[in-house]
Amino acid sequence: MSVARPGVRYFGDGGLLQDGGRRRRFINSLGFVVVLVTTTIAIVYPFYWMVMASFMPLGYSLGNETPLILPKQFSLEPWLAIFHERPLLLWLGNTTIINVTATFVVIPVSLLASYSLNRYRFRGRMPFIVFVLLGQLLPASALIVPLFLMFRDAGLLNTTGGVVIAYITFMLPTAIWVLWGYMQGIPLYFEEAALVDGCNRFQAFRLVTLPLAMPGLAATSLFIFLDGWNHYLLAFVLAGSTDQWVISLGLFAFIGAYHTEIEQMMATSVVAAAPALVVFALLQRHLRGGLALGGMKG
């Protein structure tokens, strides 16, 4: 794992973390490994602990010394309990339905918008961009009161449809933003060539631009779908009854209880985190760029 092998020079750190001299280099590389290991532990350990705790017998954490690396006993109890005692599958189902529906609406809508912003220059284009960007700046907490009242009056409170509408809107600015980046990478002259060859605008879009935009569309849908796991406040206020809950609300309910069932809570957390992590891990190579920025939103 040694890094600074003699004779090999590394400049890439910007010069801050290394300097000349062989002995000094050895000390540096030792320090480097220590720092790297510490950082890795800081990144991974909390997550590791969650997975480990989900396999401890129920109540284990309260009765025993905190296990740091492995507990003395393992058990599947928490996993059986969360599926028996709580409507976890229902919440997972709700989450999936809401996110999939929202994604299916957001993608075509944002595709049209980003196509328009990319291919045409027209009066009001810049104001529209600012309008979308400002929409993204607004904190959900600033809109939650009127949304609650409007949805109540429209009979959308505590309905899956209501949550979907809210999710769609909060996902739209990000989707337009990310897709726009992809669209900019598709040269306009491909489409112009198709027009010269006798296609109309729609055909040129469908036969030339759309296939080229597919990877971007796939990445954006995926990102939007995963982003849906994070819109907590909207679901919190708009979906009141437990039947309509999404998984994040089910998770939060663990903390409200008189005593927290750590093992069950951790098992449920693993369930909630799994889809996002699996998808990210499988597709991380294809998803850099826009996703990197989008994935940070709260």
Partner: protein, 295 residues
């Protein structure tokens, strides 16, 4: 590019535009209107216009100032901690290609974990009885009794800053790493030949090389951390006392905890102005930076 006078571009924008107007901008105006009334959740129909009464009452209290200060502290803490950690790890990763693939995969873990799961993980990490953090501090002999990280007003803010930064710093790392890799190695070689110190190389080659991407990153971190609700609500419910009552939590508490929709809406308008102010400050910084770069 096509310069168009037809209505086609607007037709294409219409679905997105209408949705954003209906669900973001109409509520925004509505919120501003409600903030001028004494609306209450349970007797909303009898709400009366009271002008700037809500704002006057809010401004007269120390609570708002405290909450603004908490928002600022939280946001600043998260921006500083996640940016510095992110930069540090990016510099480490840029130093060697070994392990880069592995580290990159590991970095995905906090970043892809849903926010609420992140809060629950840290809820357990900080737990006074069973939390691994206290356990480790005990083993190291730093701390004897179980310290209640989240329920003590001295450490509650620090705790949620740490938890939030754990989720955010990997994105900073990945984006800064891309920036670092764009700096040509010849520049460092030339600097070395000229006898530039490590610090000088960092100051005059690395920092300018990642300046723009850093400013973008800092802007985004500021915006997102200033409007984050999940952390401060789930981990501490704004407490203990008002130790972590950031604006988003305060708004929620007024509107749905005390059912005072009018005052909650006034807070919403104030937090909106606060966000705009932050963005405005950054735009000024960015413009000044560009002017300096051109000069």
């Amino acid at each position: 590019m096509t310069t168009s006078r037809s209505s086609l571009p607007w037709l294409l924008l219409a679905p997105a535009g209408l949705l954003i107007i209906a669900i973001i901008y109409v509520p925004l105006v509505y919120s501003a209107l409600i903030s001028l009334t004494d609306a209450h959740l349970l007797r909303f129909s009898s709400a009366e216009f009271i002008g700037f009464g809500n704002y006057e009452r809010l401004l007269a209290r120390a609570r708002l100032t405290t909450s603004l200060w908490r928002t600022f502290t939280y946001s600043a803490g998260v921006v500083v901690l996640s940016f510095l950690t992110g930069l540090f790890v990016a510099l480490l990763m840029n130093r060697t290609t070994m392990l880069r693939g592995l580290t990159r995969t590991l970095l995905i873990i906090p970043w892809a974990t849903p926010w609420l799961v992140v809060t629950l993980i840290w809820y357990v990490m900080f737990n006074p009885q069973i939390g691994p953090i206290n356990e480790v501090l005990n083993l190291l002999g730093v701390l004897d009794v179980g310290h209640s990280w989240l329920y003590s007003s001295e450490t509650a803010m620090l705790s949620i800053v740490i938890a939030t930064s754990w989720r955010l710093f990997p994105a900073v790392t990945l984006i800064l790493l891309a920036g670092l890799q764009g700096i040509p190695p010849e520049q460092y070689e030339a600097a070395e030949v000229d006898g530039a110190s490590a610090w000088a190389r960092f100051r005059y080659i690395t920092m300018p090389g990642i300046r723009t991407v850093s400013i973008t990153m800092l802007t985004l971190l500021t915006i997102w951390s200033s409007k984050l609700f999940t952390m401060a609500w789930t981990l501490t419910q704004g407490g203990p006392g008002d130790a972590t009552r950031v604006l988003s939590v305060y708004t929620y508490q007024e509107a749905f905890g005390s059912n005072r929709l009018g005052r909650g809406s006034a807070l919403a308008v104030i937090s909106l102005l606060f966000s705009l102010l932050l963005v405005f400050v950054y735009l000024i910084v960015l413009r000044r930076d560009e002017e300096k770069a051109e000069a």
